[in-house]
Every structure is written in C-alpha cells, then in structure tokens.
C-alpha cells in the first residue's frame, strides 16, 4: 500500500491539511484510520476553495488507505461536500419544516432576487453560491441560513441585505 501511496496524488494534500487530518486520525484506533474520512474531506475541501475534485477524493482514499469508491460514497452522501466549484461564499438556506413555517420561502425569493441566481447556482463573479439544505438544527431561530461556518437566524429581508453587504 505504501508504494501505491507514493505513486498517487497524496501530494495534493498540503502540509497544513495533512497535519489537520493527522490530528483527526489520531482520535481513532490505528487500524481504523478511515474513521477520519469525513473530517479529511472537509479539510481538503476547505484547502481547495470549497469543493472536492476526484483527484482530492482519491488522495484522501490513499492517505487513509481505503477504497476510492468508499470515499466517493461518503462525499456524495452528505450535502456539505461540494463536487462542483462553488462561489467564495456558500449560502445554505434551510427550507425544512420549521423554517418553512416561519417564512423560508421569502428568504429564498429575496436571495434569488438580490443575487440574480436560482437555488443551486453560482453568481458569474463567483462570489456567491445559493444552496437549499435540510434542517441545520437551529429551529428556534427559524428562518435561518448558514454562510461559511456561521449561522444567521431570524432572517428578514433587511437582515439578509446587511449580512450580504458585509461580505467581500
């Protein structure tokens, strides 16, 4: 396996990411390295500007010594992994039951109108991507959205404009 590792694209993972992944690997028994796959995918996704290439997924597979297809399975299962390029700011809008009842339709409509794109699309200047997601566990603050690593709750049109306005 080690010879194979050298031959493949493990080098695509930079040193900082590798250190970060190793920190996660250390949390699990040595023979269960693959338990760190979700963290590893998140780390290399961040390294790559928010999305995963096939090569990066292969690199994670080789690094964690697991079948490539098993990494693809994880990456395609969870909605937080992006398999296509995304904008600098990924805006995830919850449209699940609580948010829906509290007006997430209006949030979606406002964002689409303001950015001139539909859900699932990216602005031409590659600043924003809009994404519809399921419950993010912040029902008490519905309607809500997530941008980067932050939650924004109790949204109104005004509040959305303020938030977007502060982004680069």
């Amino acid at each position: 396996m080690s010879a194979q590792m050298q031959a493949t694209g493990v080098a695509l993972i930079n040193d900082a990411s590798r250190a970060d992944i190793d920190r996660w690997v250390a949390k699990y028994p040595a023979e269960q390295k693959q338990s760190a796959v979700m963290a590893a995918l998140r780390i290399v996704q961040d390294q790559n500007g928010g999305w995963l290439t096939n090569e990066l997924m292969d690199a994670v597979a080789d690094y964690l010594e697991m079948p490539k297809i098993a990494v693809y399975e994880v990456a395609t299962f969870y909605s937080m992994y992006e398999l296509e390029p995304v904008g600098r700011h990924k805006i995830c809008v919850c449209t699940n039951i609580s948010c829906l009842l509290c007006g997430s339709d209006d949030v979606v409509k406002h964002l689409e109108g303001k950015l001139g794109i539909k859900m699932g699309e990216t602005t031409k200047d590659r600043r924003f991507t809009l994404k519809e997601v399921e419950c993010l566990g912040a029902c008490c603050g519905a309607p809500m959205m997530q941008i980067g690593n932050s939650y924004f709750e109790n949204l109104t049109a005004q509040k959305i404009d303020d938030i977007i306005g502060k982004l680069d």
Binding site: A3, N54, P67, I69, A70, Y72, T76, F77
Partner: protein, 789 residues
C-alpha cells in the same frame, strides 16, 4: 449448540446464532429475499424477508433475526404477508416495467417474487426515477434504472473479491450503484455479480439478448481452463453453448467461477472452427471425409514406422485434454511402439522427472487452503492463473494466515500479504535457498548433501528469515509451487528446495498446475517416462524438449497450437516444419497448423465431448457433451479409438468414454501422490546475474486455444499486450521512456517492441508475454541485451 424453534408450525432444531432465514432454507420453507445471500454478509436493507415472530410487536427481517430457544415464526401469516406485500410495492415503485426487453426476464428474482407478492396494478402514479447506465467494461452489461439497491454486488466486491470497485453513491432517491468514475471493473471474479444481481441491472454482456431462459437447456459440465475444475452449467440454445454459469460445489468452487471460466467458452463458437477433416496435398488444403482422412493418417504413420522406425513418431497434447483422450493417445503411440508422449508443453527442466510424484497434486483439498495458517507460494501469478485458489488463500489470510509470495511477477493481492519477494527468475532458486538456509539455521539441523557448498554465497535476508519463521511457527503450513515454477528452467532445484522447506516446517507441498488436467495427464500416462497410473512406461520416450530437438519424422498433436501453446515456440515450429508427417487433432483451423500439419482432424472441444478432468486435488470430475459437435467434428477419444482400430492396435474396443475412464480408474485405484521429492544436490545459486533477463508470463486469457478465441476476454485489461514491460527503475537504467521502442537481442536474434512501464516486473528484467509476435526468438527466462532505439 442447538435450539428448538417452530417455523410455520414445524418444530425444528437450529444452530444457535443462525438466522431465521437459514433455518427456514434448511427446512425448505421459502422466504422471499433480495439482499440476503448465503455467501455474503447480512445487510438487511431490502426488507423483503419480513416475517412474524411471536411476541414481537413488528415483523422482523428473517435474514437478520437470530433464532432463540422456543421462538415461533410465521412466514405466511397475515401480518407477514402484509409486510412482504408492502415492501414489494415499495421496491416496485422505481423499478421499470420493462421485463419484455430485460435480459433477466424469465430468470429474475424480482419478477418471481413480484408474481407472488406484487399487486396487479401499481398505485404509484408519479414519475419513476431514471438512472444513467454505467460502462463496467466488456463483461458486464448495466441497466441501472432496474437496480433495487440490494448491495449484493457491493458486498461481493468487498468480501469475496477484496476489491471494492462498485459502491452506492448519492443518498435516498439519488442513490446509485456504480464506480462513480467510469472504469471497467477489473477483478478476475467480477462476472459473479451477474449471478448475484437479483434483477436485470447487471447482466452478462456477451450473452445479451441471445436467448430467454426458457429457450435454453442446461447441462452440467466442468471448466476446462485451470486446475480447479470449477463446476459449471452450460446453457444451450439453438444447439450452441450460449453461456456458462456456476454450479454449486462447496468443495471446489463454492458458488463462484472465474471470468475465464464464465466467458472463455465463447471460443468454441469461433468462426475458425475446423468442421471437416482436411488433408494437405501438394501444399493445398483439401476437405475430405473421415474414412479417407483416417486412412491417410494410418498410411502416413505406417510409412514413417516402416521406413524410419517407430521411435520417429511422437505425440503432444494440451494439458486441458480429457483423461480419456490422453489415455487413448498414449496407448496409440505406445501401441505403435514409440514412447514419445508428453503434455508438458511449457516445461523446460525434466532432469528429475523420475523422482516426480504420481501426479503433481495440490497436496491437500482445495477447501483446506482456507484453513492454512501459513502459505509460501513459489512462482505463481495465482490470481490470474488459478483465481479460485487465490480466493481460498485470501480467506486464509483474512483469518490471519501468513500468505507469502516468492516469484518473478509482483502481482498485487487483495489481502494482507506477509511477504512478496519479486526477483529475477535466475535468482529464484537463490531466494528459495535463502529460506532453506534460514530454516536450517533456526532448526539447527544439518543441511542435506551438497547444500552447504551450493549455498555458500547465499545471503540470508530479512525476508528469508521472516518467511522461514512464519512457516516454522505455523501449525498448518503449505508450500505451493505454481505454474511459473513448473515452467522454470531449474524446476528440479525449486522442487528439491521446496520439498526440503516443506519437510523442515512440516508443511504440505503442493503444485498448482497448468491447464485443466495436468493431474489426469500423469495418471493417464501422457508422460514419456511412465505409463498409466505411474507404471513403468514401456517403451520409454523423450520429453517434449528432446522430442523437438531430435526433430522426429512424425508428430501427432492433440489440441496443440505449436506457435501458442509450447514454451519453446521456435523449436516447436522448426521441428514441425521439418517433420515429414504432422497429424493435428484440432478444434480449430489454426494458421500455425495450416502451416506445419499434413492432416487436420476436427475434434470436439470440452463442450461437445464426454470426458473427465482430474483437478489439482485429485478429484475426478466427469462430464457429458453439452451440445453435438459442430460440423463433422468428433470427440477426440472416438477418433483415437478408430485410429487404433484402423492401425490394428490392441486395446481399442471401447464403446463409451466411461469405459475408457473406468479402465484407467481401476488401474489407478486409491493411489495417492506423495509430493515429497528426494533431495538432489543443486548447482551453485546465482544471486546477482549479469545482464537483463526475460520474464515470461502466459496471459490468463492466452492459456488455451479456446480462451484465446474469446472476444470478450480479449477486450479486458488482462489481455496480453505487445510490449516490453519494465519497471520504472529499469527504464531509467536503460534511459527509455514509455512508448519508446527497445531492441532485445539474444543468440543473434533481435526483436523490437514498445516499452511499457509495469511495476510488477523485477529490476533488470523485461517481461514479454508468451505468444506475442517475435517473442519466440527470446528464451522464456534467459539473458538478453536491451537497448533503446
């Protein structure tokens, strides 16, 4: 421990810990299922096997519910049936109603179960999902919209093949089975997912749209391409073999077969089948009838016998010929008075053949390989040569066995490998001597005569120490000599050392032979130095190497294409060309036979004749012809019987192939081979040879005339390439790049081939597949010079 349970009112004892579905299967109570398969882990994801269990609030999946004392199970109660019908309805929501155009139609588990549990009319009025088909290569056809996500194929990859190629990507309604990135599945057992798939999502690509299940008849037969002898069912339609499927035999192939056994048969329907006897007259091939052809053979051989002597006649046969064919062929040649018979077409070292066992046997049962705790495999590309033996060793390795390889092709294995020593073929004996030396040292035993002198220069490496330790420490060890070892120019030394190592470690010594019936060939007397059942071969003859070197006046070939099947192609073709009379009993109108033969008799391949193969463990497996021979072809045993009669040789009065077999079987009785070989002092071992060495590999899909003609197999990545394969390191030393041409010279001959990088090839070696154009000018494992051009 047993527990008593009750299924549908029947009291039954079941193994504690067994699942309800296993107990029901044993009782013959059929519970519908899709994801459950006896050879795979339990997934319990299809929910089709829901049954009612007393005191359980909800129906439980029979495949994942262990039996407990006093459990009462109802598989056909109202509650069970309602649950099963509901699951069926959900499974059919996204399944297309395209049975009329589905290849699985008529032999589909979903169709069958839907007949019993489905509704007449679907209540699902919404849109069904559509899934894009995947291209999985030349063997497996996909219609992924039909997939019901049972994940049998995924589990097969992980658990049996050991190579996870298929997976379930996406989630919920977007879940799909596939490889994600388009690629052909590459495992040598990949075709088994066709049988595992309970719907028409994964089907047999070459067979596609050729027949419906009910249009075909099924005949049991035996696989003819390796020494495992997998049990098969041949499916026949329109008097043609249309496909091969596995037939369960726990002792041999379980429920699996290799891709070669599944798709190789295609060659029997090849366009170049020889359909009528043909005679060469004034350099022209003419069709003729059997009587004239047999007379021609009798006259031709008679003339050679009377003018040049009977010892000018020799016979060679394919190691995949049947026992009956070989028994009669050697009797025919010996009846004429010559002892020149051989089946060891690629073997080169015959020096210790008198000390060889009764037949080269695995030395244990195939099943036993799963239970070894250490195995040393010498000179074998086992995954490709005997895929199902590799599977058994994989099971042992997963169970903690130390499986170790020592050879000249560094294959990769889908299991933990304790050692994988890959060396120049000329150093193979040196490496094995290293293991022996380490063992002798560890055991403080006096080395046998001559060992110390020959092994003076042998350095014991860490690998040798580790292999020796693992073998010595095992309670149940085996040492296996593979096909490449048997072809090795110093087989006698390898055999002697392997025997010594086996003796020192109390391991079972075994052989993994070439072809379907090498064991049968030895028993039938198809070797020059021994008659049937190991009797004194009278008259004695020469092995193939001598037979070719002596340039006999006449050769009889059975199932041999001399330019493809012989180890020394150059010598074979020269000897045949120079001979006055060459008789070919062949299924094919091969170009090489057209060149060198004087008469070609059309004989039936294994699908069209009755016969017997003896597999590596010594299991006699007889089969009947599955279809009538094509054209005027006849079973070879009948042709030989008539030839014997025409030439007035005694002992050719057989009425059936069974009579032939039974006569030999009686002679063999219960004789078992003892693989242990007497020690013979070896030549000094070489550790660092001068110059480059050719490594030869017989590609898995080139092993016999039939598989060479299987189009599907030839399209796989395992098909041989016309290239000089070298490692990165060797390429650097030669200053050549991938794709560049290199000239390889040996003994005044030079051939050129493009370079291809291949990590399997040891340093300082060039791998050239056997049978590639020009490869006949290079000795299979000898020094050559290489230069980039």
């Amino acid at each position: 421990m047993l527990v008593t349970i009750e299924i549908d009112g029947k009291k039954v004892q079941a193994r504690s810990g067994a699942m309800v579905i296993e107990a029901a299967d044993e009782l013959g109570i059929r519970i519908p299922r899709f994801c459950y398969h006896k050879k795979l882990s339990i997934a319990a994801n299809c929910r089709m096997c829901l049954v009612e269990v007393e005191k359980a609030a909800k129906p439980l999946p029979a495949c994942a519910t262990p039996v407990t004392e006093g459990m009462r199970i109802f598989t056909k109660s109202r509650k069970a049936l309602d649950a099963q019908k509901a699951v069926m309805e959900f499974l059919l929501i996204n399944h297309p109603l395209d049975c009329p155009i589905c290849d699985q139609g008529g032999e589909c588990e979903l169709q069958d179960v839907a007949m019993g549990y489905g509704r007449d009319v679907s209540r699902f009025a919404e849109k069904k999902r559509v899934v894009k088909d995947k291209n999985l290569g030349p063997l497996i056809s996909t219609d992924m919209t039909r997939c019901i996500h049972c994940t049998r194929c995924v589990r097969f990859g992980e658990e049996i093949a050991g190579l996870r190629e298929l997976g379930a990507t996406g989630r919920g309604e977007h879940m799909e089975i596939g490889t994600y990135i388009e690629k052909a599945v590459q495992h040598e057992l990949s075709g088994n997912v066709i049988d595992l798939c309970p719907v028409g999502a994964l089907t047999n690509k070459p067979f596609r749209f050729s027949a419906r299940a009910w249009e075909m008849r099924q005949f049991p037969t035996i696989a003819a391409h390796d020494c495992v002898g997998s049990n098969l069912n041949a499916h026949i339609g329109k008097n043609k073999v249309l496909r091969m499927v596995p037939r369960d035999n726990e002792l041999v192939n379980e429920t699996w077969i290799s891709d070669r056994d599944r798709f190789g048969f295609e060659g029997v329907n090849s366009d170049d089948r020889l359909r009528v006897p043909m005679i060469k007259q004034n350099g022209q091939w003419k069709e003729t009838d059997w009587t004239s052809a047999l007379d021609f053979v009798a006259t031709g051989l008679g003339k050679i016998a009377s003018t040049s002597g009977v010892s000018e006649i020799g016979a060679l046969c394919s190691p995949s010929s049947t026992v009956e064919e070989m028994y009669l062929l050697q009797r025919f040649i010996r009846g004429l008075g010559s002892g020149h018979v051989d089946h060891r077409l690629r073997q080169t070292d015959f020096s210790d053949q008198d000390a060889a066992p009764l037949y080269p046997s695995l030395g244990q049962s195939i099943e036993h390989l799963e239970t070894v705790d250490a195995a040393l495999v010498i000179g074998a590309d086992i995954r490709r040569q005997q895929p199902l033996l590799a599977h058994r060793l994989r099971m042992a390795a997963l169970d903690g066995a130390n499986v170790m390889f020592l050879g000249s092709v560094g294959s990769t294995y889908q299991f933990p490998v304790a050692a994988n020593v890959v060396v120049d073929p000329r150093c193979l004996t040196n490496e094995l001597a290293g293991v022996a030396k380490a063992l002798l040292k560890q055991a403080s035993v006096n080395p046998p005569a001559g060992f110390a002198e020959s092994a003076k220069a042998v350095q014991v490496s860490a690998d040798h120490e580790a292999i020796a330790k693992a073998l010595k420490g095992a309670r149940n060890a085996t040492v296996l000599l593979g096909t490449d070892a048997i072809h090795h120019p110093d087989l006698s030394t390898l055999r002697s050392l392997a025997s010594l190592i086996a003796q020192l470690t109390d391991a079972k010594l075994g052989y993994m032979t070439e072809g379907a019936n090498a064991a049968g060939a030895w028993l039938a007397g198809m070797v020059p130095h021994r008659g049937p059942s190991g009797s004194k071969g009278a008259p004695a003859g020469s092995p193939i190497s001598e037979m070719l070197r002596q340039a006999l006046k006449a050769y009889v070939l059975l199932g041999v294409e001399p330019d493809k099947d012989c180890g020394d192609v150059r010598a074979a073709m020269k000897a045949m060309r120079d001979a006055n009379f060459v008789v070919a009993l062949t299924a094919y109108q091969s170009p090489s036979l057209e060149q060198v033969a004087h008469v070609m008799l059309p004989v039936a391949p294994f699908t069209e004749t009755s016969g017997t193969f003896v597999n590596a463990e010594g299991r006699w497996q007889s089969f009947a012809g599955a279809v009538a021979p094509q054209g005027d072809a006849r079973p070879a045993w009948k042709v030989l019987r008539v030839l014997g009669n025409v030439m007035h040789i005694d002992g050719f009065e057989f009425m059936s192939s069974e009579e032939v077999r039974d006569e030999l079987r009686t002679r063999v009785g219960n004789a078992h081979p003892d693989n242990k070989t007497r020690w013979h002092p070896p030549r000094p071992f070489v550790s660092v040879p001068q110059g480059f060495t050719r490594v030869t590999l017989v590609a898995p899909h080139s092993v016999d005339a039939i598989v060479r003609r299987s189009d599907a197999l030839q399209q796989t990545t395992d098909a041989p390439t016309f290239a000089a394969l070298v490692s990165d390191e060797t390429a650097r030393e030669l200053s050549v790049r991938e794709g560049q041409m290199v000239a390889m010279a040996q003994g005044g001959n030079e051939i050129t081939m493009p370079v291809r990088l291949d990590a399997r090839v040891p340093r300082g070696c060039v791998l050239v597949y056997a049978g590639q154009p020009g490869a006949e000018h290079l000795d299979p494992s000898a020094t050559l010079t290489v230069r980039g051009i």
